[in-house]
């Protein structure tokens, strides 16, 4: 599509929005041309980056800096100047474990429980999410009646707020909910889903897949539709079995889209908080406490608002996340090469 279009003056299809944008961006034509003459063509990159960097700096990097400062101070005061310096005490407390594989042996057992649960949740969720999204994309890629409608159906839950999603499912899954009503009607025994750690984790994963798979399905579908049909036709002429077509043609060609999906799913999974919290409350016991929940509760929900401890925990989390992303990207690059 792009190759066929004229080199300039591509118009978006929405005439009004397009005209508005043309007018607005047109106003900047001259000033920006002047700026370009001043800084040179290639250094325009920084001009384009500037607004984003400004907001990033103010609301991401500066807060991270403040967080680092908070993490070495104690007490309950809000402003840094009023907080006594405590050195690495918060980090020491957080890292104080007899065994890192045994959250119960740690001084801050809930933090480690959160780490373990988040890793578990992320792993299950990535497998389930990519699996379902892929199957759904493959089905939607076939020539079926009402394809547009079905795509919309799968996408719709993406629009709901996490709190609403969790509320709906909580009502369905509770002791006297819709699902148990269905089970008893079918002659079964009621299942107390939120009392069993396994079930609670299962539903946490299920509900988040339910809520977000539509988006990932569309990204994968886009990739599937870009795979040339003649590849498949050639494969058919060779009599290649379907599984082989999937592993040799479809998946390799879909890889760039899969990578985007994997990165985004990982990020969302690790950040999960309100969705699971509203659904399971972090229980039973502490079986679905997520790390972000621990940080939030330490900073706000506990009676003593321990900003320092929460900041230290978030710095540790930040380090972990950064490492995870880098690992994933490195892995992806190797695989793509």
């Amino acid at each position: 599509m792009a190759d066929a279009s004229p080199p300039t003056r591509m118009m978006p299809r929405d005439a009004l929005a397009a005209r508005l944008w043309q007018a607005a961006s047109g106003l900047l034509d001259r000033p920006m041309a002047l700026v370009q003459r001043l800084v040179g063509g290639n250094r325009m990159a920084w001009i384009f980056l500037a607004p984003n960097i400004f907001f990033f700096g103010l609301f991401v990097f500066l807060p991270i800096g403040i967080n680092i400062a908070l993490s070495v101070t104690g007490g309950t005061n809000l402003f840094l100047g009023d907080r006594p310096h405590v050195g690495a005490a918060h980090y020491e407390a957080l890292l104080d474990c007899r065994s890192y594989l045994e959250p119960g042996s740690c001084r801050e057992d809930h933090f480690w429980k959160g780490v373990a649960n988040t890793l578990k949740f992320t792993l299950f969720q990535m497998v389930a999410m990519v699996g379902t999204a892929l199957v759904t994309a493959l089905v939607l890629n076939r020539k079926i009646r009402g394809r547009g409608f079905f795509r919309a159906v799968y996408f719709f839950p993406v629009l709901l707020s996490p709190v609403v999603v969790a509320l709906i499912w909580k009502w369905i899954l509770q002791r006297d909910g819709l699902l148990n009503a269905a089970i008893t009607t079918a002659g079964g025994q009621k299942i107390l889903f939120f009392v069993d750690p396994g079930w609670a984790m299962f539903w946490a994963v299920f509900v988040s897949v339910w809520a977000h798979m539509g988006f990932y399905t569309l990204i994968l579908l886009a990739g599937l539709q870009a795979i040339p049909a003649d590849l498949y036709e050639a494969a058919e002429m060779d009599g290649t079995p379907p599984m082989r077509v999937l592993t040799r043609i479809t998946l390799p060609l879909l890889w760039p889209n899969l990578l985007v999906v994997l990165v985004l799913v990982l990020i969302r999974a690790v950040q999960t908080f309100d969705e699971v919290f509203v659904l399971t409350g972090g229980g039973p016991g502490t079986a679905t406490v997520m790390i972000v929940q621990y940080i939030y509760e330490t900073a706000f929900a506990n009676q003593v608002q321990n900003f320092g401890r929460a900041a230290a925990a978030s710095m540790l989390l930040g380090g972990l996340l950064f490492a995870l992303t880098m690992l994933q990207l490195w892995f992806a690059r190797r695989k793509a090469a």
Binding site: A33, L49, I53, V139, F156, V163, A181, Q225, A299
Partner: protein, 348 residues
């Protein structure tokens, strides 16, 4: 066969097992995806008592009542299994412990005593519209709605513009420090605002933005996710297009505004949807910086039905449905971008 599995049915009119499987999967999907939302809508029309019933009824039902001469209040109707095995429709006068005093509306003079296990309420469909009308009178829905709308629209526009500019720089140019910038974007991708809530609150307070809608709009404007998505998309644009424009003496700004951005439209639409959903549903952050009711967003307003010891579910559900309506509208409006937009252009 192989092709049909991955592309389409090759022989129109013939339905193979893969088609049946596909349709079965999609049918299940419709039930699973729409069912819960439909149930939410139906539940929002139930009375508080009906909301808590077990087994839950699918439709909003209330007990049928009948007005009987001699009784000021309407009486509730029950289906009663009589000792002789017959079933009669009786109205209940009062219940004392586990005995109910009932009467036949046709013969109001005779009181019949019935054990309460023997009666079963007769119910009819009734929508509790008061779940919607009462809170609308109580709280300034219009004000909250317009606040949410302003936040959502302004924030989305800012996000689209500055994110696409940054993505353009990171996708098109080669410059020193680019690797570092990329690293920072990807590194911050993962930081949820929940964990930097206190520092961002401090920044906002120092800027004096508390209780202004800007306090909600600005902090999330530069989304790493947006930069990442848009950049991935821009990388797929043909470079010779840009080279040709440079030959034509187009300025860098013009190339961005007139060539690259329109071609990025599908990805922008995806980001717009994300931004709209995110802003519309945002709750924790506005709650921290907005304390005056004239700047409340809808999410704060509707969650005010959650008290310390009680939650007024009937109002909360009804107002939740109200906040869903605009989202559904956006969806209808933008869905051609979602479904045809990304799909046809491909995200290579």
């Amino acid at each position: 066969m192989t092709v049909s599995l991955f592309r389409q049915t090759r022989h129109p009119g013939r339905i193979g097992w893969t088609d049946i499987l596909s349709y079965a999967y999609l049918a299940l999907g419709v039930v699973l995806m729409f069912g819960p939302v439909l149930w939410l809508v139906l539940s929002s029309l139930k009375t508080p008592a009906a909301l808590l019933e077990f087994p839950p009824s699918l439709l909003p039902l209330t007990q049928k009542t009948v007005t009987v001469p001699g009784h000021a209040q309407p009486l509730e109707l029950y289906r009663v299994r009589m000792p002789d095995g017959t079933v009669r429709e009786l109205a209940q006068v009062r219940r004392i412990g586990i005995q109910a005093q009932m009467l036949d509306p046709a013969d109001p003079a005779t009181i019949i005593r019935v054990p309460i296990e023997a009666r079963e309420p007769i119910r009819e469909m009734a929508f509790a519209w008061s779940n919607y009308t009462e809170p609308l009178q109580q709280f300034a829905f219009g004000r909250y709605f317009s606040n949410s709308l302003i936040v959502t629209i302004v924030a989305t526009i800012i996000t689209l513009i500055i994110n696409s500019m940054a993505a353009y720089a990171l996708a098109i140019y080669e410059f020193r420090g680019k690797a570092l910038m990329l690293l920072l974007v990807i590194g911050t991708l993962m930081i949820p605002i929940t964990i930097v809530l206190v520092p961002v609150f401090l920044v906002i307070t120092q800027m004096g933005l508390n209780n202004s809608l800007w306090a909600v709009i600005l902090p999330g404007a530069a989304t790493p996710t947006g930069v990442f998505l848009l950049r991935q998309y821009m990388l797929t644009l043909p470079r010779d297009l840009i080279e040709a424009a440079r030959m034509d003496k187009a300025s860098e700004w013009q190339i961005y505004a007139r060539i690259v951005l329109p071609l990025t439209l599908p990805a922008l639409a995806v980001l717009a949807i994300f931004s709209i959903m995110w802003r519309w549903n945002e709750f924790l952050w506005p709650l921290a910086v907005l304390t005056k009711s004239e700047v409340y967003t809808l999410q704060i307003g509707l969650n005010a039905f959650q008290g310390e010891l009680q939650t007024q579910w009937h109002y909360l559900l009804a107002m939740t449905v109200m906040t869903l309506a605009p989202v559904a509208l956006v969806f209808v409006f933008l869905q051609r971008f979602i479904t045809t937009g990304i799909a046809n252009t491909g995200m290579k």
